[in-house]
Symmetry: C2
Subunit: 468 residues, 2 copies
């Protein structure tokens, strides 16, 4: 197992979110430095509390014998107990048994009902796959689509590097299309057209188009018109649409509320609504749940051939079953406490408090960046990241070159060393040649956030002065 | 995404444990038939209760705020509360945050300590990877090793079909070596030699040797001498050893207690102990824990190049983190209640009761099979399966052919239709040409087991009479 003898695709795959910067930060942490990890959207790691109702039900579902003890039962709200009882009844054999490889049948029905309530259009539970986090769903779909390096997948640039890593791992080709920063990272149809044509000219079979809404790392929310444009483009070009919609609850503006691609397709009507293939992804890790550690995600396949569903079912069966606790968490995300139930008010209050705070933090962060010399930042309309542009002076670019680093990596390494803030350089997500960015989460607490902004301010001033 | 356009490796991968028989059984279940699922080692699904201490600690770790309530705390044994507190302290940010992609650092240290206590030799926590069940570990290792179809992996026949499925999925070649049924499914060195030579003659680069101890589906426990033979063979032939040791606590005889390959290598001394590459797998799904649904597994890499460890770390980071609840369960498996702690006696009593019952069930099952006409069964010395041989009469083989089925699939389908017992045909695991088997778990409760044996008896008598 010498590294020289390993699978080439595996060696070439890169995953920047836990790449050089993260490893360096972890090393500093081990040596005793206080590190502010804003490299990955991991809210509980930065002090965010889980929603109480979710954890109450999870605890009772994990240890159902607790509900035989009246002394314990009376310490819980009645709806947490009745919910846990009903989940245990649906599972039948407790969370220690494997579920169906696609996830519990009753859960897939609940997810289908949730999608139908959200979109106003039916959803088929047999076309839903639950997985250990949405990342596994994305990988499963790409693994099915990609045959060899002639197969290209269109991915936005900047993108979430799960896509580049997985496409590389499965031996396919990534064809990037650029998002337009001056218009707030919008999708431009002529750029999509340029990208697909370029790949085809190079002899590629372009199989799928990935888009992320709201955008990771770019934070933009897509309008219905943009989504319709994407749908029509995919239909004309015969591409599978892969809709990364994991941040659908993280929306910090009101002009463009979240609309799912599933809904857009259904409402376009006609052949496109019945033929356009779509796989969309969702998770309990994002929103204000932040239950990253539980690894609960799903994908819904729309207009996908039943034979393909069968093949993916077979492949999911090799791992036997997604973890059951993540599945129970998905059930709770799809079915919050109802009006009139004892936990209803507190549940929504907890959600609202977290959501309002995220909005304030999005403002603190982007305002903070825009106040810095040589830094500009599109407002973070959604998700949990800001992606400022670093207008690095030529001397900084030169110094980076000498150090053998990409210029934004150079900036981010200095930032880490001087402030303890761990971020991901823009090069990990992709960006236009000669442009530089970084991605940070907006997840430190509000008090901490002010400290973070101050740290950026003094670091950036020194850095820019040095390389003026 | 038409099935004709999917990845060929994915389409060709087969996973019999949830294959034709399982799908048929699931269909019958949906139509209202009572099905006894003995196709997969899923103990809780057949009524086995989880160990109380494990679930107490998991519940408190999932909802730590419960421990702020003295009324709740006093309903738990003190060591469950203190254990949950200490785990929460180690985690720092609760189970909702991603862990390191290899698993929590403190947990990997605990696993290393557990391995050292078991084997008497040190273990390096940085060479341990926690994953969502051991299946993911196996897949990760095979994915790293296999470059293309010239790379061959030696696998026992019969084998656990995770191996054949994953090798196919990653585009490698499986080279089978036969286990010897007359000697109780023992490993024969000349057969290993034949197998490696055959592959090399066909131009293959033989990269690794998989063995399963105790054997799945075959149930044999390996002696230290056999393990030494395997180690020396792998060393001479320069093969990575992949040790599937997930059933290490499921041992139903006392002549050959479990010895890990790690220990064998260390005690062989000399260059083999320092150079032979080994990856071993373990899990909370087996033993008497049966926590399949939690998906907690790990692999330990021994004598593996640090560059390769780094590559596997990178790949594991694409999924961000294994699920945290499975990791906490691993911690509890490695650290049962200590002598003097309040849960100590009850914990070991629960374990012993389950273990003793499994031993009785292994006897009921194999005795039952050996009492049947044209069926013989090697005693199930370990694991949770019996793998009887079906000496099918020529007329049955012919009838199967006419029905377009493998003869053992034909037998198993009839068994399912007439008795509701769902098993896996031997062809799913591999067997010698012209021989037929089936795999069943020994997991139904003891009362149910007697009913199962009766059902086999009347079904088999009818089947054998029909095709005499």
């Amino acid at each position: 197992m010498h590294p020289d003898l390993l699978n080439r695709d595996l060696k070439e795959a890169q995953y920047a979110v836990r790449g050089e910067l993260y490893l360096k930060a972890d090393e500093l942490r081990k040596s005793g430095r206080e590190i502010i990890f804003t490299n990955v959207g991991n809210p509980h790691n930065l002090g965010q509390k889980p929603l109480t109702f979710i954890r109450q039900v999870l605890a009772l579902t994990t240890a159902p014998f607790l509900m035989d003890n009246p002394e314990i039962v009376k310490q819980f709200p009645a709806d947490a107990v009745s919910r846990a009882r009903s989940i245990i009844k649906s599972i039948g054999s407790g969370v220690g048994a494997y579920s169906d490889s696609r996830g519990y049948p009753w859960l897939r029905q609940e997810i289908a009902d949730f999608i139908q309530r959200r979109d106003g259009h039916p959803s088929n539970p047999d076309h839903i796959f639950c997985t250990d986090g949405a990342s596994v769903s994305v990988r499963m779909a790409l693994n099915a689509i990609i045959r060899d390096e002639q197969d290209a997948i269109m991915v936005p640039i900047p993108q979430y590097p799960l896509y580049s890593a997985a496409i590389r791992l499965y031996g396919g080709s990534l064809e990037g299309y650029y998002l337009d920063e001056p218009s707030g990272w919008q999708f431009k149809m002529d750029e999509l057209k340029r990208s697909v044509n370029k790949a085809r000219k190079a002899g590629k079979d372009v199989r799928a188009l990935v888009f992320i809404n709201p955008g990771n790392p770019t934070g933009q929310c897509l309008s219905r018109a943009t989504l319709e444009g994407l749908a029509k483009f995919a239909y004309e070009e015969r591409l599978v649409l892969m809709a990364d919609e994991v941040y659908q609850e993280n929306i910090f503006q009101s002009e463009r509320p979240f609309v799912s691609m599933k809904q857009v397709l259904a409402e376009l009507g006609g052949p496109i609504s019945k033929e356009q293939e779509l796989i969309s992804f969702h998770t309990v890790s994002k929103g204000v749940y932040g239950e990253c550690g539980l690894r609960g995600g799903y994908m819904e396949c729309v207009n996908v051939h039943p034979g393909t569903i069968d093949e993916m079912y077979k492949i999911s069966s090799i791992n036997l079953s997604p973890n059951t606790i993540g599945q129970v968490a998905l059930s709770l995300m799809c079915n919050p406490p109802k009006k009139g139930e004892p936990s209803h008010a507190s549940y929504y209050q907890e959600k609202q408090t977290l959501h309002d705070s995220l909005i304030r933090r999005a403002h603190i962060m982007t305002d903070g960046f825009n106040a810095l010399e040589n830094v500009s930042c599109v407002f973070t309309e959604g998700v949990m990241y800001s992606f400022p542009r670093l207008h690095l002076p030529p001397k900084a670019v030169e110094a980076a070159k000498k150090a053998g680093k990409a210029p934004d990596t150079f900036y981010c390494l200095h930032l880490l060393e001087e402030t303890g803030i761990s971020v991901v350089p823009g090069s990990g997500f992709g960006q236009k040649e000669g442009e530089f960015h970084l991605r940070t989460t907006i997840l430190p607490s509000e008090e901490k956030m002010k400290e973070v902004v101050e740290k950026y301010k003094s670091f950036n001033a020194k850095f820019m002065a040095k390389y003026k």
